[in-house]
């Protein structure tokens, strides 16, 4: 398989890939890096790997990162709550995050190292295609590495330094003695701690973050710092190389003849909601069939604000512009509305203003196209929040887009205040989040408040309108079930009043 900087032997690699061999060996390609399990991802893997394993490792790592982000969202990193929550999600994942879960056999360790390595580099390829994705991956991988390093004991990190291809030097006791006073004062170490503290030296370029903070000793072009800051240095080194490698990989991706195989895989990894669902409208057996008559009720209960807004617009103006027809139409398809129902629903509305044959001529084609019945004949998937926010911003007359991203502060406030269920403080909180560009967080809070959950009670972040819908339905179903059991337990004189409860 091809990784970031392996373009030179591109052809060779490609011919190997065409063979699509099953993975042959489980040996790290290059033992320059730490043979243990911590790595700074300096050497990409160079072995053959089966597509099945490719998918599996990539999805696993993505899930891990996603879980990590969710936990980080609800608790500050390095707190006990965070650790406990995150540890639960790490159970089934073949990557060691907590040192005490480290396997004993060296073979197992090597295998974990390999998966760590491959997973990271696949995601680099998958996320190199837009600056937003690059940033997200770099940030989250950096945080994960920071978390893992902080869990480690000093000896482990220390001993692995020599194996990393990074000019970092631990001061000998003589070197330390020579500049002891400066180190103590510059790095703000307590005098009593000085004796046992290890100090390191790197080129000052690699310690830029510390220099900005000021807690580092600078002498003749080198930065000196105590062990605590080593993590900062290593993480920022890793982030810098990742960022640079992704920028390079992006250029090389264009000449990679992998349209049929690797590229769609990579696109899938980075594009759709990171949970791995692509909401193409295919429903699992046994799920409820959705008809157009249910939409009004569902919209009130379970639609994300963007969809609610477009639905309201459709009912009010009996028309939707192109951007909204696509965004809303694909969403409806994603929740399981059939083609016939979708056309019927739009026709019902549109023909209140235009003749029926005009609708057939001008609008039904597009709906059929989205369902893969026209033109390219590829069923399309619903848009994720990232797509909605980054592409095709709405103009003044449009009603698509993301209300948190594309509404003026005042308008957004008005819209939110219109929801009787939200308290004033909650509206403020959501507006503030939207103001500081945290649209996903704003939407998640909106979800939680409208569903009477605690702040952070959802336990994940909304990154897809269809995810919003599914989570909402899940909660409502659970509550109905709970209500049923409690009702049947206590008395049977009144009908379960699910209506009142779940429309909220």
């Amino acid at each position: 398989m091809l990784f970031a900087n392996a373009i030179s032997d591109n052809r060779n690699v490609r011919s190997q890939m065409f063979n699509n061999q099953q993975s042959i060996k489980n040996v790290p390609s290059n033992t320059q890096e730490i043979p243990g399990y911590l790595q700074l991802y300096q050497t990409p893997p160079g072995e053959n790997i089966s597509l099945t394993e490719f998918d599996e490792i990539a999805m696993e790592r993505l899930k891990l990162l996603k879980n990590f982000e969710n936990c980080k969202d609800s608790h500050p990193m390095h707190t006990e709550e965070f650790k406990n929550k995150f540890r639960k999600t790490c159970d089934k994942i073949k990557l060691i995050v907590f040192p005490d879960l480290k396997p004993t056999s060296s073979e197992d360790i090597a295998e974990l190292w390999r998966r760590d390595n491959i997973g990271h580099f696949i995601l680099r390829l998958a996320f190199c295609r837009t600056p937003e994705n690059q940033k997200w991956l770099t940030q989250i991988e950096g945080d994960l590495l920071r978390f893992r390093l902080r869990q480690e004991r000093e000896v482990v990190v220390d001993s692995s330094l020599s194996a990393v291809n990074f000019p970092i030097h631990k001061l000998s006791s003589e070197e330390k003695k020579e500049m002891e006073e400066d180190l103590e004062h510059a790095c703000q170490v307590l005098s009593i701690d000085m004796k046992n503290k290890a100090f390191y030296k790197v080129d000052f370029i690699d310690a830029i973050e510390l220099i900005r903070r000021g807690s580092v000793h600078l002498k003749k072009g080198f930065a000196y710092f105590p062990f605590e800051d080593l993590v900062t240095i290593l993480v920022s080194k890793m982030k810098n190389t990742t960022m640079a490698a992704m920028a390079r990989a992006f250029k090389h991706l264009a000449i990679l003849e992998e349209e049929g195989r690797l590229l769609p895989r990579l696109a899938r990894l980075s594009n759709n909601a990171y949970s791995g669902k692509d909401y193409n409208g295919e429903q699992a057996d046994g799920s409820i069939i959705i008809t157009r008559h249910m939409i009004d009720k569902l919209a009130v209960r379970s639609f994300a604000p963007c969809m609610k807004q477009m639905h309201k617009n459709l009912r009010l103006n009996h028309h939707l512009k192109y951007g909204a027809r696509r965004q809303y139409g694909l969403f409806l398809k994603g929740i399981g509305l059939s083609l016939e129902e979708a056309i019927a629903m739009m026709r019902d509305e549109f023909t209140k203003k235009i003749p029926s044959d005009k609708f057939d001529k001008e609008y039904s084609y597009n709906i059929r196209y989205m369902y893969g019945k026209e033109g390219r004949r590829v069923p399309q998937t619903a848009m994720s929040c990232a797509t909605i926010i980054l592409n095709n911003p709405p103009s003044a007359t449009d009603c698509h887009g993301c209300p948190f991203r594309h509404s003026e502060k005042q308008v957004l406030k008005q819209k939110l205040s219109g929801e009787s269920i939200l308290k004033k403080g909650q509206v403020e909180l959501i507006v503030d989040l939207a103001e500081s560009n945290q649209y996903d967080k704003a939407c998640t809070r909106y979800f939680e408040f409208t569903h009477h959950l605690e702040e952070g009670g959802l336990g994940q972040r909304i990154t897809h309108p269809n995810q919003y819908y599914e989570e909402s339905q899940k909660i409502i179903a659970e509550r109905i079930a709970a209500k049923h059991t409690s009702d049947s337990q206590t008395s049977q004189k009144s009908e379960p009043k699910e209506e009142q409860m779940d429309t909220q």
Partner: protein, 410 residues
């Protein structure tokens, strides 16, 4: 004698043709590489009369640069960044962006107005220049001692400030984040305008090396002592404005001020209380004070000195890779002064008011030429005559050439 800018349009062509040191200048910006590897991607900007800016000029060699300079005769010449493509073709590339440039610092006397008592705003006297002297000495020391930068050039901006160019390879390669981190680190002035002499968690007493070293540099040659007297900082008790001075200690100080009336005495008293190095050489006969400041009071003198002489940087100039900065040897249109590279060692000898001025430099030309005619030596007559190597500019060109040498080997 103040400068009359009416003659500037006539003087500029003569100046550029004879006195602009194009050869070392171009040698500097090549950094020991061939023209095609570096120099041709450097942006120059010409600023003509009436503030007409011509940006994105770039040249293939010394001759084409010199021709453009002598045909345009700009009022001001700016040096920009090295780009990934030739700046002249900037419109042709979508990914056109700055990739390298010298690390630069700008220190301007107007930023010292809160503590400068001799002059205000644009006026500059020999007393004010001492602010620049100490700022340059401190920053020059730090750039070498902390970051290991060797190729440093200090240029008088022509009126009331100095620019620093750091030409080391490592400095040129810095990205914007790194530049801003360095500038942030070197800047001790916080938003409230106070100089921070202790930092971080151990705010109370810990003096980081950067502060201690700056203090030592400032106190070394007695320049600061002269300033204390010239600027009259100790004439009343206003100088006790240290934000962390405890009330008890302030009272003690005010009592001492009653005993020590003249600024000289007060300065001696301050040093004998706060400056450990100075204290050590004193006996009780020399006026050793029996006052022991504790906690943050101990840093009072550090604050007093650095608040007054630590370099006040214009951080924004240092941060941007693509920021344009006035070239050395160009003329300040208001004062007519040549922006001359300074010798840091002898910077206190530099006199702002006798800085080479374009009208005087140009006047000198005829006598220089006559001197050469009179020269009996055949050998030197056959060589090309470079007026900038003679006359008033010569010592500054020498400073420049020293820097160019260091820059090329960096």
């Amino acid at each position: 004698m103040s400068y009359n800018s009416i003659r500037l349009p006539q003087d500029l062509p003569i100046y550029y043709k004879n006195f602009f040191p194009a050869k070392p200048f171009v040698k500097w910006l090549r950094y020991g590489l061939s023209y095609g590897d570096y120099f041709n991607r450097r942006e120059f900007a010409f600023i003509l009369a009436d503030d007409v800016h011509i940006r994105y000029r770039s040249y293939h060699d010394e001759l084409s640069f010199f021709k453009a300079l002598t045909s345009t005769n700009p009022e001001k010449l700016d040096i920009g960044a090295v780009y990934n493509h030739e700046p002249i073709n900037n419109k042709r590339h979508t990914d056109y962006q700055a990739v390298e440039r010298e690390l630069v610092f700008d220190i301007d006397l107007t930023d010292y107005d809160p503590i400068r008592n001799c002059c205000k705003n644009a006026t500059v006297c020999q007393k004010c220049w001492k602010f620049m002297v100490l700022a340059v000495k401190i920053l020059d020391f730090q750039l070498d001692d902390m970051f290991g930068f060797k190729a440093r050039m200090w240029v008088f901006s022509g009126r009331r400030g100095v620019h620093c160019w750091v030409g080391d390879k490592k400095a040129r390669m810095l990205n914007n984040t790194q530049r801003s981190a360095i500038a942030t680190r070197l800047n001790l002035f916080k938003k409230n305008g106070h100089c921070e002499v202790t930092e971080g968690r151990a705010k109370m007493t810990r003096v980081p090396p950067i502060v201690r070293d700056a203090f030592n540099v400032a106190m070394k040659d007695g320049i600061f002592e002269k300033m204390v007297l010239e600027q009259g900082w100790l004439e009343n008790s206003d100088f006790l404005d240290y934000p962390y001075l405890s009330e008890g200690f302030r009272k003690q100080m005010l009592d001492l001020l009653e005993t020590f009336k003249t600024p000289e005495e007060r300065w001696h008293m301050l040093r004998s209380v706060f400056d450990e190095g100075y204290r050590r050489n004193l006996t009780s006969n020399d006026g050793l004070q029996d006052v022991m400041p504790v906690m943050r009071d101990r840093n009072f003198l550090l604050y007093f000195v650095l608040q007054r002489c630590y370099p006040r940087l214009d951080v924004n100039v240092s941060t941007g890779t693509n920021h344009l900065l006035k070239s050395p040897f160009c003329i300040h249109p208001k004062t007519g002064n040549v922006a001359v590279p300074l010798n840091v060692e002898k910077i206190d000898e530099f006199d702002v008011n006798s800085c080479p001025r374009i009208d005087r430099v140009v006047e000198e030309l005829s006598s220089l030429l006559a001197e050469r005619e009179a020269d009996e030596n055949e050998d030197s007559k056959n060589r090309k005559f470079l007026p900038y190597k003679h006359g008033a500019l010569a010592p500054y060109v020498e400073n420049f050439e020293k820097f160019v040498y260091l820059a090329c080997i960096s």
